[in-house]
Amino acid sequence: MKFRRAGIILLTLALALTLGLAAPGMAAQEFTFGCAVPLSGLFGKDGQLVRDAYTFWMETINARGGIAGKYKVRIIFYDDQSDPQTSAKLVERLVTQDKVDLLLGGFGSSQVMAASAAAERHKFPYLSGGASSNKLYERGARYYFGTLGKATEEVRGCVDVFTSVTPRPKTVAIVGANIPFTAESCKGYKLYAEKYGFKVVHYELFPISLKDYNTMLLKAKAKKPDVLLVGSHLAVAMRVVKAMKEIDFNPKGVAFSYGPTVPAFVQGLKADANYVFAASEWTPNLPYKGPVFGSARQFNQAYRQRFRRSPDYVEAASTAAAVVQQVAMEQLGLKPRVTAADRVRLMEKLHQIDLMTFYGPIHFGKSGANREHPPVAVQVQNGQLINVYPAKWAEKPPIYPTPAWNKR
């Protein structure tokens, strides 16, 4: 008797499982997108931003009836735990098990490298707005596209802004975490600093797991640079600010490759966050305008309404990746279910597309790397992110030299 009951339960479970597995692919009037992003682990925060960006795109599109006005969008999200092996596995799962129509890109250089390689094997276009390692474009991949600039170019605003200040700085120190994006940022800093005639007096990479930043920065302080340039992610940027204050390190300016544009930076550091510079690919006041979201300013407003905070440039770049894929789909007149041949056409289309969006011009060309955006720099002034470079878009002039720590 007992056995029979157990048997029935098992059968029911098996049935439920089969139905559950078979479910995707039934509704043909919607497009299913798949996305593996880090929601836990080292990049848990950044992955969540990317997820928010895609969710926002999906909600906006669906409120207007869907892609081409009639096909709703559904996104399957998975957590890759900031692990490349898992990221590649999940892309395989999305493609072969969940049978999604198309993919949306993840976050982090290692994860995106592995995931986009898997996408390439299945001939799925993979557009990312959350990875910018130069290595992504050195593989000869045909299905990989990135809306962010290459890491070495992306940080250019950080250096360029110091050509516009007086007195013009003479020396810079460069430090950065030794992982792809941040290490390549430092390479970019060095390249442009030398180009503009700033003397690089200190250059050092450090492990991301470094515990004590004080001594590391002390070495930079000893070289008395006019400007400190930091290759950073959010947490690294916060640690650097804390340590600089503790050791009383007062360069005339300090700039970060990434971090200050995320709201958590100002929330955590409060007044200590003031006056730092950051590179940006995008700010809401840029004069960009395009399909779906209208102008950069309108995108910013809508995003604020939804999440009660301004979007970071990675979120803008990720949303733009989804938009450009959508526009290409509409131009090709794709219908659900997207076929293998459709995806090849889409890939070819994406290489040719030249589109103006709220995020700025998007043109991938042959390499898959987006055309360089003009470098932009922001500065935290009074707790607000202010566009300070280039002059034609600057909301306010940069504050330089920055006041000493005890005068902020």
Partner: protein, 290 residues
């Protein structure tokens, strides 16, 4: 140049005190129960978040939150021991690795759902304030943390060796059955020990949040450093946490100054390895070897 070396020595000593503070609880729990607590860093994280939320929500100064994190984490540690850890006391230490690893997954991921992955930190009017003399700087918060660390390790040492409760704990850690026969409530002693270890760790977390960012996933690296510190000093030998912490802190900082931060980590760990070969029961030779 010599100022820089002295400054890096100071940084290293302060760092060592911080290492010692968050390792002391780990050492206590291992020394008494033979349990390797992989969720150690997560207790630290909980202490840090308790302080963070009291600071943000109630505007309470981080130092005023210390009693709350001591009490809160004591209660949590007591419960953890009573509900689960007691199952693995006396079993091979490997069982405790995996049980507490499961707890680590639960705590850190529940915290992730509740508080998101945002890195957070507490910035007060005095954060970053420092003593400055002879061209050197000593940040106040780290100095106070260092002194608290000395106090905690000293108090634990006294508690273990010169008090009624300490004698019960000692007796239990040496021979459980004997302790039981002589009327000691072994389960209670264990629960108190675990609670105490957790409380100190929570305290460390409350202090860390003032000079470092914290997030729900921060725990595991802290656990690993605590493990290293404690093994270097000798498992279960309380002053060893301080000695181990100071060695790791000073070597790390001075090597960062002389070489690079990357090489300093390589050298620190290689040195740790050599010291273990040289003194297989910790640097003082007083650790427990099972």
């Amino acid at each position: 140049m010599s100022t820089l070396i002295i400054q890096s020595l100071i940084n290293g000593v302060l760092m060592g005190g911080i290492y010692a503070l968050y390792s002391a609880g780990f050492s206590l729990i291992f020394g008494v129960m033979g349990v390797v607590n992989i969720a150690h860093g997560d207790l630290l994280m909980l202490g840090a978040f308790l302080t963070y939320w009291m600071f943000v929500g109630l505007g309470l100064d981080p130092f005023l939150t210390l009693p709350f994190s001591l009490l809160g984490l004591f209660a949590l540690g007591y419960l953890m021991q009573r509900l689960a850890i007691k199952r693995v006391v006396g079993a091979p230490p490997i069982m405790s690795y995996i049980l507490t690893f499961g707890m680590h997954l639960m705590i850190s991921n529940l915290a992730l759902v509740a508080w998101t992955a945002d890195p957070r930190t507490v910035t007060t009017a005095y954060s970053g304030a420092h003593l400055a003399f002879w061209g050197l700087t000593v940040p106040w918060i780290k100095l106070i943390t260092f002194l608290i660390s000395l106090g905690v390790v000293g108090a634990l040492y006294l508690l273990l060796h010169h008090s009624q409760m300490g004698r019960a704990i000692q007796a239990t850690s040496q021979d459980r059955e004997m302790a039981r026969l002589s009327g000691i409530k072994v389960d209670r002693v264990y629960a108190l020990t675990f609670g105490l270890g957790a409380a100190i760790t929570g305290l460390a977390g409350s202090l860390v949040v003032s000079f470092r960012d914290v997030d729900p996933g921060m725990g595991l690296p802290y656990t690993i450093i605590a493990f290293c510190v404690v093994v270097l000093g000798g498992m279960g030998y309380m002053p060893g946490a301080l000695i181990g912490g100071l060695i790791l802190g000073v070597v790390g900082s001075v090597c960062t100054m002389i070489f690079t931060p990357g090489w300093s980590i390589a050298i620190t760990f290689f040195l740790l390895y050599l010291m273990l070969l040289w003194r297989p029961a910790g640097i003082m030779g007083k650790g427990i070897v099972e």
